[in-house]
């Protein structure tokens, strides 16, 4: 699988404590026990780890019936984060 999929898998096991054996590309977000808030949390952690910015309202990630492979593909299409502009 892609590096992004591997990153998704890593976050699901390390951050969400989801057993490795139920994390499969064809499993849906719902299958692995995530709810809508947990999906947003997953995106937040992935963005920090991968240096991406993914709009949390991304239509491709709105349904809990999205598979992990589809979710990883949607994240992969996101653009790298711009250099932060601080208020300082």
């Amino acid at each position: 699988m892609t590096p992004v999929y591997e990153a998704v898998k890593s976050v699901l096991t390390s951050h969400f404590n989801i057993p490795d054996d139920i994390i499969r590309p064809e499993a849906t977000l719902e299958d692995i026990g995530l709810d809508s808030l947990a999906v947003v949390e997953l995106l937040c952690v992935l963005q920090d780890e991968l240096g991406l910015r993914v709009p949390t309202g991304d239509e491709a990630l709105k349904s809990l019936q999205v598979t992990l492979a589809q979710a990883a593909a949607a994240v992969e299409q996101a653009q790298p984060a711009p250099v932060p502009e601080t208020l300082a």
């Binding site: 989801i18 949390e41 910015r53 709009p55 984060a81």
Partner: protein, 407 residues
């Protein structure tokens, strides 16, 4: 014994002195301080704390630990212990008649600093959606209700460092009012983080005994110079005594008195005359139908700050007309777990009754000559007692006294 008395039928403790009630009791009775240098606090002015010994949180709570903050981990672990201790099975109880009241003082700040950085960067889409549900004061109560199927009244109460005691008193009121039949109540706190540590240091509230962390929490000692930040949780199962008897439970104590009063004087300092402590004590005695001569031991608030200990000592002397019973401050061992303190100390007071033993005040080498109390020190003291009081005070002038009686 009053017919409508409330019984303590289960105790759960997760403290720096141990994960579990017996482990905590043994360490507290040994008088072994738990304060130590805490590298996780970084370069804050006072990098000392009292931490709960490491334990497998996921094994204790299941895979959903990611959505909970540290204080909720501690609270839920203690709640499960208390329910087991009471011999109750959440799978079979009538959840609609089970209430939960958890006292929290300052909650944890682990998520806040990264969130503020993202906010400043304008990275709104990176803000965790869990920041709110994880850090609101009611988070621990809510997660206990979800985990244990409690569907009666539930809430967080906060009276700063008296929160855990106030939660127990509030739960007692709910039971007496008939709003539930079982109440899980107590307090939880996880403040060992650079932000609260640095802020309490700015207030001058923390001991700066950096050369001797173990000796830093020294309540009532002439050389005390502040408290040591601690984490922990204490939860108890409360039931009407008649209900407990009917199901064959063995109560650990009767919870017969609750008194609370507010100084209305200063946002951080106690009233110099300790008037709130006296009022709370008098109210708790009246609630229990007891007099001071019935109280065999006081588990004091005893933070180890110069001001608290002197004012509390004077107030207890006035309450007991110059003849206070043996007093201890278990904070010499546990440090100060803020909103959890009152609940942990009430649980320890119940254990004192059960074991007829007053634990020592760790690190008390020379009693402050201005404090005329019989403070137990050096070693646990066997002591016959039929009723005990636990006193708690919080910033803002909140005072709560709980009275427990022997079964």
């Amino acid at each position: 014994m009053k017919g409508d008395d409330i019984a303590v039928t289960g105790i759960g403790l997760v403290t720096p002195a141990g994960v579990g009630t017996e482990a905590t009791w043994e360490t507290v009775c040994s008088g072994t301080p738990t304060a130590a240098a805490d590298p996780s606090l970084g370069d804050v002015p006072v990098p000392i704390s009292c931490r709960v010994p490491p334990f497998d949180v996921q094994a204790a709570l299941g895979p959903q630990v990611w959505r909970m903050d540290r204080f909720t981990h501690l609270a839920l672990t203690a709640a499960r212990q208390a329910v087991d201790d009471a011999g109750l099975d959440p799978a079979t109880w009538d959840g609609a008649r089970v209430g939960v009241v958890v006292g929290v003082g300052y909650d944890s700040k682990d998520l806040v600093i990264p969130a503020v950085r993202k906010l400043i960067d304008g990275a709104y889409e990176k803000l965790s959606p869990l920041l709110i549900p994880r850090t609101t004061a009611n988070a621990a109560a809510a997660e206990i209700c979800i985990a244990l199927g409690a569907h009666g009244p539930s809430m967080a109460v906060t009276t700063a460092c008296a929160s855990g005691a106030t939660a127990l008193g509030t739960a007692r009121d709910l039971l007496l009012a008939g709003r539930c039949d079982i109440a899980l109540a107590g307090g939880a706190e996880a403040p060992c983080h650079p932000l609260p540590s640095a802020c309490f240091a700015q207030m001058g509230a923390l001991s700066t005994r950096l050369y001797d962390p173990e000796g830093a929490s020294r309540p009532f000692d002439v050389d005390r110079d502040g408290f040591v930040l601690a984490e922990g949780a204490g939860l108890m199962v409360l039931e009407r005594a008649a209900d407990a008897r009917a199901r064959g439970a063995r109560p650990r104590a009767h919870f017969s008195g609750y008194g609370t009063a507010t100084d209305g004087y200063h946002y951080a300092a106690p009233h110099p005359d300790g008037v709130g402590i006296e009022r709370a004590f008098t109210a708790a005695l009246a609630d229990a139908g007891l007099t001071t001569s019935d109280i065999g031991h006081v588990n004091a608030h005893g933070t180890g700050t110069p001001l608290n200990d002197r004012i509390e000592g004077a107030a207890l002397n006035r309450v007991f007309d110059g003849h206070p019973p043996p007093v201890t401050s278990t904070k010499g061992v546990t440090g100060h777990p803020l909103g959890a303190a009152g609940a942990i100390e009430a649980a320890l007071a119940a254990l004192s009754l059960d074991h007829q033993t007053v634990p020592p005040t760790a690190n008390l080498q020379r009693l402050d000559p201005d404090i005329a109390l019989d403070v137990v020190t050096k070693a646990a003291r066997p002591h016959r007692m039929d009723a005990v009081a636990s006193n708690s005070c919080g910033f803002g002038g909140h005072n709560t006294v709980l009275i427990l009686q022997r079964v």
